[in-house]
């Protein structure tokens, strides 16, 4: 945890941590405390007075069918994004781990979308799927699918899922590839000598050994889908049509900044914070266990 040899100084260490701690206090702890506090109040529309209402904001939140639907949307959204990216990138990583020729070229071509902002990924897919001139929408029409995400909520949700997953593939690919490369070759060779087919080798040796990576990526992808996709949704569907793509984090924003209902927005923030802390906790528990293994 700490060095055997340390410097001793009364003032210096405090000066060194001061900037970080000051910013953390002002922009993290104070706002979080405010969110917690104002979730127990109802504020009037002009912000002149507010009344203590206890748990009422939370009670109203969980009685609101719109909010519960938003939970469902978030769940569908994040599970689909995680499943889609992870399966595609695992496949690509296995393939990339196998090739010898042009390995670097493939890798370069597969990792650059990491740098594309979620908002841009959203806008580009929005364009590709645009019902009147998008090329993908045109192909879909040729296949007999009538694509119109401005009207059809399920299609709008599918659109943001695809765009979010597309952006996240490179990240997952890199981690799966690193995981695959750390598996000892001798294990695979031994299995091959025992005449295990490539498919069998994958499912009985490689995949189980990748579990820590898979689990880590699952949590990362869920957190990504929960929070980072805000930009993607805001820049494209804006939660619509009729709330069909309004995931939880988008709702915090729309209730607070558009609807001006601070109490409810704060309560939603608190619920989300509890979710993130829970997820991070699970992840750290798991990472600790990984050390033993």
């Amino acid at each position: 945890m700490q060095k055997r040899v340390v410097y001793r100084s009364k003032l210096l260490p405090y000066l060194l941590v001061a900037p970080q701690i000051a910013i953390t206090l002002i922009f993290f702890f104070w706002p979080s405390y405010q969110a917690l506090e104002s979730s127990f109040y109802v504020e009037d529309a002009f912000g002149f007075s507010r009344n203590w209402v206890g748990m009422q904001n939370y009670a109203e939140l969980f009685a609101d069918p719109g909010y519960l639907r938003s939970f469902r949307t978030t769940l569908i959204f994040s599970v689909s994004v995680a499943a889609l990216t992870m399966s595609i990138s695992l496949g690509l990583a296995v393939a990339a781990n196998r090739v010898i020729r042009a390995a670097t070229a493939y890798r370069t071509l597969l990792i650059w979308p990491y740098a594309v902002a979620p908002a841009l990924a959203g806008v580009i897919w929005y364009f590709l799927m645009n019902p009147s001139l998008g090329i993908v929408a045109y192909w879909l029409k040729a296949l007999g699918v009538n694509w119109n995400h401005y009207v059809n909520g399920d299609q709008a949700l599918l659109l943001v899922i695809v765009a979010a997953a597309w952006k996240q593939i490179s990240y997952n690919f890199l981690f799966f590839l690193a995981g695959l490369q750390s598996i000892p070759k001798s294990l695979i060779e031994a299995a091959a000598i025992d005449r295990a087919s490539p498919a069998r080798r994958f499912w009985t040796i490689v995949f189980p050994l990748l579990t820590p990576t898979t689990f880590f990526l699952l949590v990362i992808n869920l957190v990504y889908a929960f929070f980072d996709t805000f930009a993607l949704i805001h820049a494209t569907t804006e939660g619509g049509p009729v709330d069909a793509t309004s995931i939880l984090v988008y709702r915090v924003y729309s209730t607070g900044f558009v609807g001006q209902d601070y109490g409810s927005s704060a309560a939603q923030s608190v619920v989300l914070m509890a979710l993130v802390v829970g997820m991070t906790f699970i992840q750290f528990r798991y990472i600790e266990r990984k050390v033993n293994y």
Binding site: L16, P19, Y106, A117
Partner: protein
């Protein structure tokens, strides 16, 4: 490869090529669309090969911007993005490396309290506590300023943890030697620790630059002054521009311009990027 299976090799390459196509196709279409005129994009199916309007479109965007979206030149927006991204990157690295130094190399009361205070912020993305943070920034009068764009985002648990991890691997003998030579704590930091951290700083720089450049929600809230718009959030005003139909050829041009700097960074410094990514998440 364990054994020679030609069929599998073909399959492998096929899978990789399909993957590459899937990842590159959307951006290919964006590039193509940005070189056409509005007319060429008005009827379906739209062309899949470059047009001849690229030069006009891009020079219009960079020098004058889009009238429908406030008419801010994209050159200006990119400059703002660069200032914000570099400010966040340098800020994060600077304050994280000194706080990690304090936590690892000094013994002082409340050391662990500070460490945990930094550590816990790992769990709180800005999207979650957006409204109260916005309030705080308003009260401090930081709206519509570069400081307001940068300062709230520079606290970084990730970078602090990374540097702490790295410092712990540096042999104690170095500090001992430095102390025997009568180097004080600041001298040790400047002459020994900082040069040793060069690779880590560079790797972190790439990740943080991308993080800073791609910020969306925060600039959206903090800037109402069009002169401060960043390019990634500016594109949103073009897409949802109200009554008028979106001008897709210019929007795609903007998207291309907005992704060029971070994508170039990733491609040019691929090794460092991979190192930074894999290590900062451990």
């Amino acid at each position: 490869m364990v054994e020679n299976r030609p069929f599998l090799t073909v399959l492998t390459h096929a899978a990789l090529i399909i993957g590459v196509l899937f990842l590159c196709f959307p951006v290919w279409m964006a590039l193509v669309a940005s070189t056409h005129s509005a007319d060429a994009l008005s009827s379906s199916p739209i062309p899949m090969w470059f047009g001849d309007q690229g030069w006009q479109n891009y020079s219009l965007l960079i020098s004058r911007g889009l009238p429908e979206a406030g008419g801010v030149p994209l050159g200006r927006m990119m400059l703002n993005s660069a200032i914000m991204a570099l400010g966040i990157t340098f800020g994060k690295i600077a304050i994280s490396i000194i706080s990690a130094y304090a936590v690892v190399y000094f013994k002082f009361p409340f050391r662990m309290v500070f460490f945990w205070m930094i550590f816990i912020t790992l769990m709180l993305p800005v999207e979650v506590r957006i409204l109260p943070t916005f309030d705080v920034v308003t009260k401090m009068g930081l709206l519509n300023s570069y400081a307001g764009l940068i300062v709230p985002l520079i606290a970084s648990a990730t970078a602090t943890l990374l540097f702490r991890q790295f410092f712990l691997t540096i042999p104690d003998e170095l500090v001992e030697a430095a102390r025997i030579d009568r180097a004080g704590p600041l001298r040790f930091f400047w002459d020994i620790l900082l040069p040793l951290s060069r690779t880590n700083i560079a790797a972190l720089f790439i990740i943080l630059f991308i993080f800073g450049w791609n910020q969306y929600l925060w600039p959206l809230l903090v800037t109402t002054d069009e002169g401060l718009y960043t390019i990634v959030m500016g594109i949103q005003r073009m897409v949802n521009s109200g009554e008028s139909l979106p001008v897709w050829h210019l929007i795609m041009g903007t998207a291309v311009l907005a992704m060029i700097p971070p994508v170039l960074v990733v491609i040019a410094m691929q090794k460092l990027f991979v190192k930074g990514l894999v290590e900062s998440e451990k």
